[in-house]
Symmetry: C2
Subunit: 406 residues, 2 copies
């Protein structure tokens, strides 16, 4: 008789975004006239840029000819893309990353989850609180999280690192040394960033204890502050302790086109094994590469036109972030993030609960947000707003929320 | 200190196709004049058909406009594709499969490997021998295969089901009841197929013992014989014991475009849990869907033009298979498969070893093949030839091999 993976049964049922969607639907049905503006889900809205669509169209044409057709590509990604990434995202910033350290994939979500395959089940995992739910759920599925404690909203084998107003939303190295440490900067959901000095503390800590940092920098393109590293490999010592996840999703609008990459430095060894070799084996055995057409589109992001075009979109979203941050602050609300990130982390006024305030904003301003409590216990008392909407809609949403407090 | 997944270290080092590639390279370097024809790797060579490229081009155009842009799609695939699959691959054959049972993915390789996530580590897994290496390696990585016994070429916790000439290359239900059973028909590498009656025995066996059949029918499009089911769900009782993997790779030339799907029937329960719900949770947490452009291309396969165009390509490959099968048989060689499958399983003459005969064919005919021993111990004494090459090259290759025996 087949035994299922019992860890799946421990996962709490309702998923954050499903519950948000459900409440929006219920409200809309009860108020059919309401024009709800969604600043809730972190999905881009600007179309693919012309450099990308041109490259994709050319690749589709190639695939339709006998000479240009491509079958199985390298599991790790085509050299043309790995080279472009090594040059454009690393060498251009004075950071040496070889193409052989870059694994092109279908998404940072896949990679953040699948990376667990190369690690033993008995590792202790640390996550920020609040946190992107995928880190937690994938480790729970793999048996690394222990048991879910409903009353605490926590798993008993995970180490939670509170990111709260008191510490500037920056995780602090825990006393119980974790083996695997997820860090995300610019952060989802708080919009906070780690400076180079802050990150250096983590790199030294991981190297001292033999831990591995899983560094998610999917929102790197939004960084504006000078002292915030764009990659963890700007920090000395990171090549012996860190794996970095990057994505074209938010950088170039690829949420519906699926392309990302993971960097595993050659120097990174644990238990006598090179993690680059383990990840290579994992990808070669359980993955078959990203579509050629998509890889051509992603490579176009590194051309001068492509770069200029995607940065114009990033600027568009940054302007939205500024509108949200400044508008809500002017109305007397406490806002965090939104400077180096597309997320604004809003403290609920009067100590209201996350879901309570979510419901109130939905009802009074017809604006959908995401309750902070959905990202972990320390997210209670906050809501997340995203800068990925249309400029006009974003302005209107901010005005409506401000009117609640006039 | 991070513990790596020690199971990775148990995997035998050299991968079949790397070793084949190495030997071809060494031979080519020593004989620069030799024009080697490759009938070795199972990758398609015909370009994408016009219906597919038109649909992809239109989708790229959509993605470049504000109105047509799509961000995150449903993790399970767009309804338009799930509906087309349910209609075209199932309803059209009188088999009822709902769109909600279909999970669109980036490849059957990914799915065959990832499906293990929803099962416990302590299940006993049965595989055919010879076998597609991914079933074995992914289970070894997950800790279900035990230890690799170099001298036997086998893992000590896997159940091997020999598929040899004596049983017509059809696996037989083992006495030690396995929990998870991988079946592949039309088979890679032997090209053998299971009839409806043969498959019924397996379905009854799995239902009787609470086992789950993982049914890989990636080569379904090549079936010509009337008594061979195109899907395991043609067999009564399969909905309570089977998961089916299908792919656009060999059907529509998508090896470089990446689209496949997995069917998990609603009735399939084990340990009180619906496997459909578990797989849905797995995909929603660790996967973010297939690119919109690719899904539009895949859906075009189900239009009348698309269907006609891809069948023309299948016919092209079928003609190659016939050329190989009939040519080598006429030269007195014992050939199997190649009727309902793109693979021909050739018995080495005079009891030669697989690698020995591989080397001989490479040297004397300048034709690259795949040694059967690379697919498992029972593949010793065979080589695999594929029908995915060009028609002229395939004819030339067959003539050269035949000349070795004149």
């Amino acid at each position: 008789m087949v035994k299922i993976n019992e860890n799946y049964l421990k996962l709490p049922g309702s998923y954050l975004f499903s519950e948000v969607a459900r409440r929006i639907r219920v409200y809309q049905e009860a108020h059919p006239q309401a024009e709800i503006i969604k600043l809730s889900i972190g999905d881009v809205t600007r179309p693919l840029v012309p450099a990308v669509t041109s490259a994709m169209r050319a690749a589709v044409d190639e695939m339709g000819t006998a000479e240009g057709f491509r079958g199985y590509g390298p599991e790790q990604g085509y050299e043309f893309l790995r080279e472009a990434i090594a040059q454009g995202d690393y060498a251009a910033r004075g950071v040496a990353v070889q193409p052989g350290e870059i694994f092109v994939s279908d998404g940072a979500k896949s990679d953040c989850g699948n990376i667990g395959d190369i690690f033993g089940v008995d590792n202790v995992v640390a996550v920020c609180d609040p946190v992107y739910p995928v880190y937690v759920d994938t480790n729970a599925m793999a048996g690394r999280a222990g048991e879910y404690q409903e009353e605490l909203g926590k798993w008993n084998r995970l180490v939670y690192m509170p990111c709260v107003e008191a510490n500037g939303f920056a995780p602090e190295p825990p006393e119980d040394i974790p083996d695997i440490i997820y860090l995300c900067s610019p952060n989802n959901p708080t919009g906070a960033v780690m400076t180079k000095d802050q990150l250096k503390v983590w790199v030294d800590y991981a190297n001292a204890h033999g831990s591995v940092i899983l560094y998610d920098s999917a929102y790197e393109a939004f960084i504006t502050s000078g002292n915030v590293p764009h990659t963890i490999f700007e920090v000395e010592g990171a090549r012996t302790c860190a794996i970095e996840f990057r994505s074209f999703s938010k950088t170039a609008g690829f949420t519906g086109s699926r392309c990302a990459y993971t960097v595993v430095p050659m120097e990174l060894e644990r238990g006598g094994a090179k993690l680059n070799a383990l990840w290579n084996r994992r990808q070669c055995t359980k993955f078959n590469g990203v579509p050629y057409v998509v890889q051509r589109g992603a490579a176009a992001v590194y051309t001068p036109e492509g770069r200029a075009q995607i940065m114009a979109n990033i600027d568009y979203y940054r302007a939205n972030a500024k509108v949200i941050r400044e508008g809500l602050s002017a109305a007397g609300l406490a806002c965090f993030g939104g400077v180096d990130a597309p997320y604004i982390w809003l403290k609920t006024p009067g100590g209201a609960g996350s879901w309570e305030f979510f419901d109130r904003v939905l009802a009074e301003a017809n604006v959908a947000t995401t309750p902070g409590a959905g990202f972990g216990p320390s997210g209670e008392g906050y809501i997340r707003l995203t800068a990925f909407g249309g400029a006009e809609a974003t302005k209107a949403a901010v005005e409506r929320v401000c009117n609640m407090f006039r």
